[in-house]
Each structure stands twice: as C-alpha cells, then as structure tokens.
Symmetry: C2
Subunit: 353 residues, 2 copies
C-alpha cells in the first residue's frame, strides 16, 4: 500500500547490523567499529529516518517541570486571561507528566518580581515561561537563567537583550499603526487625537510608548496633518479627572487611542459619563468591561493581544521542546486582531485555535 515508515529495525536489517548498533550510531554513543559506522551511515543517507515520536515518548517516561512567571491575575483581567491559557495547556500536558507550576508576582512591586524569579531559578525547573514586565529588573534574571542553562520563553513583552528560546507576542509598533488606521478610517477633517497611557505604573510605559510611536508614524507616513496629544496618567492621580475633563473639552477632539487594556475601559467610562458618543475610541483587549463598552458603542475598536493564546502557546512550545525535542520559532508574532461590535461574538465562541 504505502511506504511504511522506516524503523530502527529496518535500518539494522538493511545495514546488516543489530538494532543496538544502529541505536549507538543514531545517538553518537560510540563503541561502534568503523566498518559498522560506514554501513549504517550509508543506509541513513539513503533513507530519511524519522524516529517515531510516539514510541520515543512512551518509553522515556520523563517527568518535566515548567515554571511560569506571571503577574497576579487577581488584579488585572488581562493577566487572568493569560492565566486561563496556562491552565488550559496545563491540563493538556498533565497526562504526559509535564507539571506546569505558576508563580505570581505583584505588578506594583518590582523587588518581589526579582525575588520570585530567583527562587524559581533555584528550584531548577526544566523550562520557564515568563512575562517580563519590568525591563531593568528582568535583565539579571535572564542572566541567571542562562547560567543555570534553563531554556526560557518570553511572552507579551519582548526584551531584545534577553536572548530567549523564543518570544511570543505582538509587534507593538505595528499595533500602534493599526490603532491609528482604525482611528483614521472615515475621518475626513483634520482634528485632534489623544493617546492615553493609563497605568498605575509609569515605568511600564517604556513599552507602551512603542505603540504611540507606531500611532504617530502612521499619520506622518500618510502625510495627514492632525494634532496628536498624549497623556501618561495614573488613574489614581488626583489630577486624573481634571486632565481628562480638559481633554474632552477640546472641540476638535476626534478620537482617543488607549494603549492599555485596563485603561481602555477607564477611558470608555469617561466618555460615557460625558455623553461623548461621537469620539472614536480605540483600545486593547477583550476584557469584560471593554466588551460591555464595545457592545454599547462607546468603544469602536479593540486590538486583541490574545493573552490567553499567548500564554497557552508558550507552555506548548516549551512542552514540545522538552518532550519531542521540537524547536520553537524564535519569534512567534501574533496577528493584530481587530475586534468590533459585530465580530466579537465570533472571537468569543471560537476559543483558541
């Protein structure tokens, strides 16, 4: 019927040696005579031998540990969605004896991040998945991982210097350009656009600014003469309300681009409160609150970063690496998904693909 897959046994037969010898050649275990080596290699060159991963896995019966470093999902729904992805992958790999253990850190407390990261390193997991929110605090952590020779994957935030096994996430610069385009569609007259970075932690804004850069560059490249103003605001700031009030009083304001998922809902509630229905709002991610405002029409577009799938894929890549020695792509850049009132349901129902 069909060319059956070649097994070690077949190679042994063709080369006129035992399967043990073939095994030694395949794994460079030595103790093979030059003649046997030549005979086996001759066959291997003719035949495209692909080891049966299923059989290999069954025999090994390894017990791997994957550690995940994640911001506390209690505080931020974005991270609880990421956590949901971890949970999902966890149960999928559990039967292969791959333990996925999650370690949370406080988004507000950088020192805790390092402490936990070092603890994780010391516990010697077989691989690590990490969302490196804090740039400066992350660098020495990666240093440790490399010293301990623990393979690790970054997700959500890319840090060039990390030199990880792979990065999973989006191109933030391009993401900003998408935001700008969605902002610009159908807006004819020149006007004012606001970029809002609403976050408790200003330091995080380093990577948020990348989105703003893309946003601005879009209009520049299109040679559209518009006015862009930006705000880096902490919602707990006493001046927060007055500053936003001031923004809304700007008569030429056409739209608001919010760079954070939580901030998107904050901005939306502000617009709703002031009855500003004609100002376009573009933000991030399918948080419950955001979906509510998308439904009511306050939010026009959401760019979906898909934290759930990012996290799930991170675990999958590591598990495949450990179990099947499959190499993950160096960069797994996610599509910049545009969510609207009309397609949101299709995203919610389809789950992870």
């Amino acid at each position: 019927m069909k060319a059956q897959n070649v097994r070690i046994k077949d190679i042994a037969r063709l080369a006129g040696v035992s399967i043990g010898t073939v095994d030694r050649v395949l794994h460079n275990r030595g103790n093979v005579s030059p003649e046997a080596l030549i005979k086996v290699n001759a066959i291997l060159e003719q035949i495209d031998y692909k080891p049966n991963l299923i059989a290999r896995t069954l025999g090994s019966n390894k017990n791997f540990r994957i550690a995940v470093l994640l911001p506390d999902p209690q505080v931020d729904q974005y991270w609880s969605q990421a956590h949901a992805g971890i949970i999902q992958s966890q149960s999928e790999w559990a039967q292969y004896n791959i333990q996925v253990e999650v370690h949370f850190f406080d988004l507000m407390d950088k020192s805790v991040f390092q402490k936990i990261a070092f603890q994780v390193d010391q516990s010697k997991p077989d691989a690590i998945l990490i969302a490196p929110i804090f740039y400066h605090e992350s660098l020495p952590v990666f240093e440790r991982f490399h010293q301990s020779e623990i393979p690790f994957i970054l997700f959500n935030t890319n840090i060039k210097e990390a030199n990880p096994m792979s990065f999973i996430g989006q191109d933030l610069y391009q993401s900003g350009k998408v935001g700008a385009q969605l902002m610009n569609i159908g807006q004819h007259d020149p006007g004012t656009y606001a970029v809002l970075h609403l976050d408790e932690d200003v330091h995080e804004s380093v990577h948020l600014l990348e989105k703003e850069r893309g946003f601005r560059e879009y209009f520049e490249l299109k040679k559209l003469k518009i006015n862009i103003i930006d705000f880096i605001l902490n919602p707990n700031d006493p001046l927060f309300n007055s500053k936003l009030d001031q923004l809304l009083n700007e008569p030429s304001l056409r739209g608001i681009f919010v760079s954070t998922s939580k901030g998107t809902a904050v901005a939306a509630s502000f617009l709703e409160k002031h009855g500003k229905n004609n100002i376009r709002l573009v933000g991030y991610d399918m948080l419950e609150e955001n979906l509510k405002y998308l439904e009511s029409g306050i939010i026009d577009f959401l760019i979906n970063q898909n934290p759930k799938r990012q996290a799930a894929l991170g675990v999958d890549h590591l598990a495949n690496h450990l179990m099947f020695k499959k190499t993950a792509p160096a960069n797994d850049l996610f599509p910049l998904e545009v969510i609207t009132q009309q397609n949101v349901a299709s995203y919610l129902s389809s789950g992870i693909h």
Copy 2:
C-alpha cells in the same frame, strides 16, 4: 513529587481484578460479571482515568485514509490556500500512517462533483473532508456517506441537512454584518451602498445571499436610512462592464461590499481604473490580488475566511478522531477576522495558529 497518572494496571489493582477485566469494562466489551463491573466502576468514579494516548496510539499502528474533496486549486486562489492547509496537515500526520488524499473537482461542472464524490465513497476511505459547494448535488452524496458509515466533516459551506460529524467555517450572516459595520464606520451622510455577488456560477449565490442578509440587517437594526442595491453578476457576462459603470456613476455611492474573494479583486480593479478612491470597498480573503489592492488603499477591509486554517483543521479533526478517538466540535466557527492595510503583515507572518 509526581501525581502519577493512573494506569489500567492501577485500576485493576485497586478493584482487585485483572487488567483484562478493566479493559473490558472500559471498552464495553461485555463478558464481565456484575460484581466485577461494580468494583471497577466504583474505582473509575473515584479516579479520573485518562488513557495514555501515546501508548494507545503506539499499539494500534493503524493505517488510515482521509479523503479530501476540494475545488480545483488551479482555478481559484482561495482554494489553493485551502489546499495549502491540507498539504500542511498531511505532512504532520504522515508519520502516524494517516494518508491524506485530495480529490479535485471543477467549480464549473457539477456533474463531475457528484461523480468524484461517489468514486471517493466507493474507495472506502476512513473519513472524508468536503467543501460542499453545490447544494443540490451534495445531498445525495451525504446520503451515500451515511450509508457507507464514513464519518465526514464539512468545511467552508454549511449544509444543515448533511448531518456531518462537524462543520468548520464562518457564520455567513454575521460575516455580512461585520462587512456592514466596516462599511458604516465614519460614514455620516446617508448614501448608497452596493452589494456585489461576482461569480461565474450564480447557483452558488444561495450561500452568498446569507452575507447580504446580514449586511442589510445591520443597517436596519441600526435604523440607518440608506440605500442598498445588489447585483448578481458573472464577470464573463457581456453586460458586466456596463452594469458596473452605471453603478459607479451613481453620485451617492459610498461603498461596495463584495461577497466573494475573487470578486473583490475584480471590483477593486474597476474602482482603480475609474480613479474612484473615495468609495469604501469591503471584500473577502487574502488573495494576492486583494492584498495588492489593500496595500494601495483601494480595498479598505478584507474579511478573512482563512481557508488554509479551515482545511488544515478539518484534516486535524478527522485524524484526531481516527487516531485518538477525540470528538470534534459539532461546529467550529472561525472568528471573523478583519484585515486592514496595517495588520495584514502580522497575519501573513503568523501563519496558522
């Protein structure tokens, strides 16, 4: 340390019977005494037994055949993308001795479709993946599949009466609503919108009309008083050009919604030729030509049906069904992906997730 997975052997020990008996209970093979049945079931209820799929697969060593029925990819790039998905899945499952064989049929010739479908049925594959383009011609085909007890999955086009293992595709009605929303964004004044069904085969339009229904309903629900005209046109029709010319001369024309992927490029070339840059164009799918027009700004939005992933997932579902006895979801509805000039690259680079 490790919460070791429960094996059949463990259940047997706990229930005080042999593994053979446990096996008979698990597979309802009968020949089990009531007492033994009770003992085993008691353990099974306490313990969440998950069979080791790897071991199961290793032992079986089956040789499955999956037949795929697909329109000729030579003629239509949409289907060549679907074919690419098949190829991808094919190579993934090859090592598990699952043969994926593709049978092409002519989009223009319905009789050939039935002939090939019956041939495929007669060759007794273990499962079938089919894109049932022709409604009436498909019904007797499904009948045969059921008679032969060959599990089959529909993709791209849903046919309610088929009663398949599952359907993979999009909600066309909702897809039309997405198109309408994208059309409506930022369009303030009332105007005229055109819905174009450009296809060689008018009979296909049955399922295309579903998109139009969604398109129209969007505006009705939003209580937007606009003018919608529709055309069902064959690009080879001698009157084709004049009819489109007439459309473009309508001064109140704000936008065009094209329900087919090939037609999208046709409409785009028409708009470009007439220098109509201010008419919004919303169409379907990432065909090369469409991407060109998206880049140049003629096309504003594409709704991505993702034929590649649909096809690949179809094979995956069937393969998982055959190999691992995993049940595929009855409806695998894909997200209605919105493609723009700015996010298209991220979709192209990310491949299938």
